[in-house]
Amino acid sequence: MSTTLKKSERRKPREVVYYPTTEACVQAKLELAMKSLEGVDLSPIFGPGYERFTSKTPPHSPSSLTEKE
C-alpha cells in the first residue's frame, strides 16, 4: 500500500534555534556573517585599497564583541 504525502507534509520542518540571551544570538549571527564574508573583496563597496576581508581580528582593533546593549 502506498500513500502519497501532500507537498506541505513532505517538507521537513525547519529547526528553530534558541539562544539564552540576545548577545548569544547576535554573536552566532555575527560568526555566520564573518564566515560568509571570508575572503570577499569589499573594495567594490568601499573603493580600492580596502583590504580583502579576513576573519582574523587585528590585535590592535577594538573588539566589538564586548559591546554592551
Partner: protein, 148 residues
C-alpha cells in the same frame, strides 16, 4: 517604505532598536541589532531577533503574527536611522534560510526604485559582490549610504 511601521525604541547609540510586533493573538518583542564585524572596518551585521519569555531569543523564521509587511517596514526604518548615524557604514544582511533571502530580495526589489538615489545596494552570491540587480538571486546583501 510607505508601509505602516511599529514605534521604535532606540538604544546603544543607534545600534539596537526594539519594537513590538502586535496581533490579536500575541505580542512579540523584536530587536534589530547592528554589530560591527571584526576586521571589516565600517561593516555591520544586521540581526533581527525575537525575544521570547525569560529573555530567551530565537532566530525563528516566521513568527506567524500576520504582520510581516509591517515588521519588515519597521526593520527598514531601523536600517535608515542606523545609516543616518553611521553614514560611512555598510550593513550586511543575510537571511537565515533561502526563503528568508527570497523575502529580503523581494523587499529590496520593491523598494529599490525609491531608495537608489541615496542608498547603494549590493548583492553577494558565491563571494562575488555586484551592484544589486533586479531578478537576480543573492545569498546576502550589503547596503550603505550613497557617497556624493
Amino acid at each position: 517604505m510607505d508601509l505602516e511601521f511599529y514605534p521604535l525604541t532606540v538604544k546603544n547609540h543607534y545600534r539596537l532598536f526594539e519594537f513590538e510586533s502586535v496581533s490579536e493573538h500575541k505580542r512579540i518583542l523584536k530587536r534589530v541589532v547592528f554589530r560591527a564585524i571584526p576586521s571589516a572596518p565600517e561593516t555591520y551585521n544586521l540581526a533581527l531577533i525575537d525575544v521570547l519569555e525569560d529573555n530567551v531569543t530565537s532566530d525563528i523564521e516566521i513568527s506567524n503574527n500576520a504582520d510581516m509587511p509591517k515588521v519588515m517596514s519597521t526593520v527598514i526604518r531601523c536600517l535608515l536611522r542606523f545609516l543616518d548615524h553611521y553614514p560611512a557604514a555598510a550593513v550586511y544582511i543575510a537571511g537565515n534560510s533561502p526563503s528568508r533571502n527570497r523575502l529580503y530580495r523581494a523587499i529590496i526589489s520593491r523598494e529599490f526604485p525609491k531608495v537608489k538615489d541615496f542608498l547603494e545596494i549590493y548583492g553577494m552570491s558565491y563571494r562575488d559582490i555586484e551592484p544589486f540587480r533586479l531578478e537576480t538571486p543573492y545569498d546576502s546583501f550589503l547596503i550603505k549610504r550613497r557617497t556624493l
